[in-house]
Amino acid sequence: MTAEPEQRIEPVPWEEWDRPRDQWLMAEHNCNTWPRSLLLEVCARIVFPTVLMVSVYLLLAGHHDAGGGFSGGLVAGLAFVLRYVAGGSAELAATVRIRPPVVIGSGLSIAVITALVPALSGQPVLSSAIWKLTLPVLGELKITTNLFLDIGVYLLIVGVVIDLLRTVGAGTELGGPGLDDETLEREEVERT
């Protein structure tokens, strides 16, 4: 969130020294469409990084255990859903700085590039290779090229979910809280 315009009009440096760079919780001026629950919002914030870590774990573990790009991406997406449900579109905007279509596009690009790279060295499209590295502390590490395809899938799914939150979620939350059907209908009639 950017600073308030009033502060920019009258910059008094010492007043801002101990000011947090970011607002950790939304102030009441953010217009939410439904009543806020502080407890839910805080819990969502605490859980959020953990869920993202779980999703990355699922992504990487997919080769040997249940998981994979699809599941990982869906879990990460659910993390964002949690934030949106707790705090509405403003909360979502605070969480995601990149435009969702960019995430979708980059995921698709990574997947397609992974598919096409083998063609450069004369191999059939989508053929995969396995590299084995021995790292000092961690021991042997096995990387397969199809992991990149999985990463592409992961990014794309995350992008799709965030995009849905932006459109189906935030895009449809017109009107204030507590509107009953008659008002909504009247509003629709007036609009169309």
């Binding site: 315009p5 009009i9 997919g62 080769h63 040997h64 255990d65 249940a66 998981g67 994979g68 790009g69 699809f70 599941s71 869906l74 879990v75 997406g77 659910l78 859903v81 449900v85 279509p101 979708i104 596009g105 995921g107 698709l108 997947a111 397609v112 598919a115 499209v125 989508l126 995969s128 396995i130 096995k142 397969t144 199809n146 992991l147 395809l149 999985d150 592409g152 899938v153 794309l156 799914i157 992008g159 799709v160 979910v161 995009d163 849905l164 932006r166 459109t167 189906v168 979620g169 895009g171 449809t172 017109l174 059907d181 909504l184 209908e185 609009r191 169309t192």
Partner: protein, 780 residues
């Protein structure tokens, strides 16, 4: 030869541009390619005649074994002479015939050259699929040329009729050709004819092929399209509807006849309909006042004659047939072009308005007379030579041939009569009508008429020029041909006697006023045109009634029809071959039973739910239940994805339904019991799917080959022990890429659907927002 065909198509593509720049000269440019083809074909005639029959091949769909093969043999050469030779003449003629600055020049020249190329491909094609493609191309060209600019109802009607009738036959022919090719095991015509297959399928195939030939060659009862097509410009009629396209049917029959001439299903229809057509065409031609329509009925009659001769299936009859194909092409195109000149110079084609043209245009009269006499079978012209051979061939055949001879003689009498009617009508002097005012007939056009007319005269004296060609085709019918040669004089023989009798009878028929009075009379129900009209009307009515009933506009009805079809058609087939599964058990794991009950109850309640949120939540329960069933099945990945997706789906559903009224809008059933009908239908379809699943799983025998391969190679090939994941990201990664592309598209689509709504707000809303922003800026 492939190059020649391609050259036609390429030139046709450029002719509209040429016409835009040089106008009528485009026709002359267009004539170059057919002329070059003719020269090329004649210079290579030796190879066609020497039994070498050079073939060329071009594989255009090698994966399914489709190739375009040409075979250059005697019959092909003969047809090329007609197609390319007369094509070039007609194109040159059209250059003079068209009015300067006519906007149709580009279109017509292009279509004519396209047609010439298609016809060339048709007569050269040696495989049935290419034959069909070129066949239909000629049909389309004919439609476009007859329809012209399509400004009048008559043009449209005639063009549509020509298209419908000939393409109906074309489709039947395609079916027949495919049946024949399947029975023979090859699509090459030369191979099919070398070893003609037999059996019931071949009989059906042959009949279907004949249907194609009859429609194209305007045989009874399909003939009315040909007189109708006379609304086309005269050069087009001369080329398509006299010399080339209508010959395609005769060509097709002649092409296949050597292989099937003994089959009754082959020769009986040909002979019966051919004779009928010959007599009817001649009979109807006697009453026409319009010179062009008269010629059209004459063409129908002659085509019937040609069909009869191919159907007779003897060596001499075949020789006579190809001789007459050549003769007919020459004289009929000359006559049509003559009519074109008359029409252009005097503005009418009506016999009753023309008078004294013979004295005005002596050269044209001489040429037209030559052509007419050839048509009537007067010596010393090629038509006479052919007719002599025809009578000779029918005289010395089987008993049925004598019956044919009687019909042919009758038809020929009519031919003589309408030939005279044409000649006298066009060039004679009528005492009651003032001599027609007309400018000179035009040197170039008259010369072009003269070329085919004089050729018919010259060839009659030196038949040896073409006899090797014609006899080469006839040799396909008989291993040891009889000693017969084409010629004007065979001595005082039966054929000569008959010829004289025909000419005398025809003259008498022409002189008596009886024939014209009688000739128009045909009983109403026998009008072929009415049959066509009834057929088309019936088809339209049927289409409307089917559409009106099945496509009622209501989505539930559409889906119901689809479901009924699904259950009825594949379901009936499935039940007919059903086998009771080997090992039927109630459950695989006891856990499945409560889960199944949960899923079923939840699904059943969704139907009954009146509130949206209830229905959505119950659907979620179904989804979680399915996920649990996946776990029981051993699909860990699957269950994980199912749970996650189900949660997300629920959330998205809730996002949307918060804007909807809480209860479903009540359905208004269009009829009372609709709900029960739907429920029954759904239950039947659901049961059908379950039976299907039981059968699938019953016919499964252990782990399939592919899955076994995936499991065994997952670790080595992909470095993953999770086989499902290995399949998704490696073995079947292409699917995955496609799938994520679908996801991206769906998300984008949803975004545009929802965000577009914001743009629908009245402009006032936007304006006020902008105003607020502006005010804020001003404040700063």
């Amino acid at each position: 030869m492939l190059t020649a065909i391609a050259a036609h198509f390429v030139l046709a593509a450029f002719l509209p541009l040429i016409a835009r720049r040089w106008g009528r000269a485009a026709f002359v440019v267009g004539a170059l390619v057919p002329a070059a083809t003719l020269v090329f074909a004649l210079s290579h005639a030796g190879s066609a005649l020497a039994e070498r029959h050079p073939a060329e091949s071009f594989a255009w769909a090698p994966a399914i074994g489709l190739e375009f093969t040409t075979r250059f043999d005697e019959l092909a050469l003969l047809m090329i002479v007609l197609v390319s030779g007369i094509g070039a003449l007609v194109l040159c003629y059209y250059a003079c015939y068209a009015k300067p600055g006519d906007r149709a020049v580009g279109r017509d020249s292009s279509l004519l050259v396209l047609f010439a190329g298609s016809m060339l491909g048709l007569v050269l094609a040696d495989d049935v699929i290419s034959l069909y493609i070129f066949w239909e191309l000629t049909t389309v060209c004919s439609f476009l040329l007859v329809g012209g600019d399509g400004l009048t109802k008559k043009l449209r009607k005639s063009a549509t009729q020509a298209l419908l009738v000939t393409s109906l036959g074309g489709l039947a022919m395609l079916l027949g050709l495919i049946l024949l090719a399947t029975a023979a095991g090859t699509t090459r015509i030369s191979e099919i004819l070398a070893n003609p297959p037999g059996g019931g399928v071949v009989t059906a195939a042959v009949l279907l092929i004949l249907l194609g030939a009859f429609t194209k060659s305007a045989q009874v009862p399909f003939h009315p399209w040909l007189p109708g097509a006379m609304v086309a410009p005269t050069p087009v009629s001369a080329y398509l509807h006299a010399a080339a396209m209508v010959k395609a049917g005769v060509y097709l029959v002649a092409r296949f006849a050597p292989g099937f001439s003994d089959l009754p299903a082959w020769w009986v229809p040909i002979v019966v309909l051919g004779l009928w057509t010959m007599v009817l065409g001649g009979f109807r031609a006697l009453r026409q006042h319009d010179l062009k329509t008269l010629l059209a009925y004459g063409t129908i009659s002659q085509l019937g004659f040609l069909m009869v001769l191919v159907g007779a299936g003897t060596w001499i009859a075949a020789l006579a047939d190809v001789t007459l194909v050549l003769a007919h092409g020459l004289f009929k195109s000359a006559l049509f072009l003559t009519v074109g000149i008359i029409d252009k110079r005097t503005g009418t084609r009506d016999i009753r308005e023309l008078s004294g043209l013979g004295a005005r245009w002596p050269p044209l009269t001489v040429f037209a007379t030559l052509a007419v006499l050839s048509m009537a079978g007067f010596p010393p012209l090629l038509g006479f030579v052919g007719k002599e051979a025809a009578i000779e061939g029918l005289l010395h055949g089987q008993p049925k041939d004598l019956l044919l001879l009687a019909g042919v003689v009758l038809g020929s009498v009519f031919t003589v009569a309408y030939s005279l009617r044409f000649l006298v009508g066009a060039f004679g002097t009528r005492p009651t009508v003032a001599p027609t005012e007309a400018p000179p007939s035009g040197t170039v056009m008259t010369t072009i008429v003269g070329i085919p007319a004089v050729t018919g005269l010259v060839l009659a004296f030196v038949p040896g020029l073409v006899e090797p060609l014609l006899a080469g085709y006839a040799d396909a019918y008989s291993a040891n041909p009889p000693d017969y040669h084409l010629g004007l004089w065979h001595g005082f023989t039966m054929p000569l006697l008959l010829s004289i009798a025909i000419i005398v009878a025809g003259y008498l028929l022409h002189r008596t006023a009886l024939a014209p009075r009688l000739a128009g009379w045909v009983p109403g129900p026998l009008h072929a045109q009415r049959g066509y009209q009834a057929g088309v009307d019936g088809l339209v009515a049927l289409a409307q009634s089917v559409t009106g009933r099945l496509q009622a506009g209501s989505l539930p009805i559409y889906l119901g029809v689809i479901l009924v079809t699904m259950v009825a058609v594949p379901g009936a087939g499935l039940l007919s071959g059903i086998e009771t599964p080997v090992d039927l058990r109630a459950w695989d794991s006891l856990l499945q039973v409560p889960l199944a009950a949960l899923v079923l109850v939840a699904a059943g309640t969704v139907v009954l739910a009146r509130r949206r949120l209830t229905a959505v939540l119950l659907t979620g329960v179904v989804g979680y239940g399915i996920g649990a069933l996946f776990i029981v099945d051993g699909g860990a990945d699957l269950a994980l994805a199912q749970f996650l997706v189900e949660s997300l789906t629920l959330v998205v559903f809730v996002f949307v339904i918060r804007r909807f009224p809480p209860r479903f809008v009540d359905d208004r059933p269009y009829f009372r019991r609709a709900r029960w009908v739907k429920a029954t239908l759904a239950a039947v379809a659901g049961t059908f799917v379950a039976v299907l699943a039981v059968l699938f799983s019953g016919s499964r025998e252990g782990m399939p080959e592919a899955s076994r391969f995936y499991i065994e190679n997952a670790e080595d090939a992909t470095g993953a022990t999770n086989v499902v994941n290995a399949i998704i990201v490696d073995f079947r990664a292409f699917d995955t890429i496609g799938e994520i592309a679908v996801l991206a598209v769906a998300a984008t689509g949803a975004a545009s659907l929802i965000l577009a709504r914001a743009r629908r707000r009245p402009p006032g809303g936007y304006a006020s927002e902008e105003a607020v922003a502006e005010r804020a800026e001003v404040k700063q």
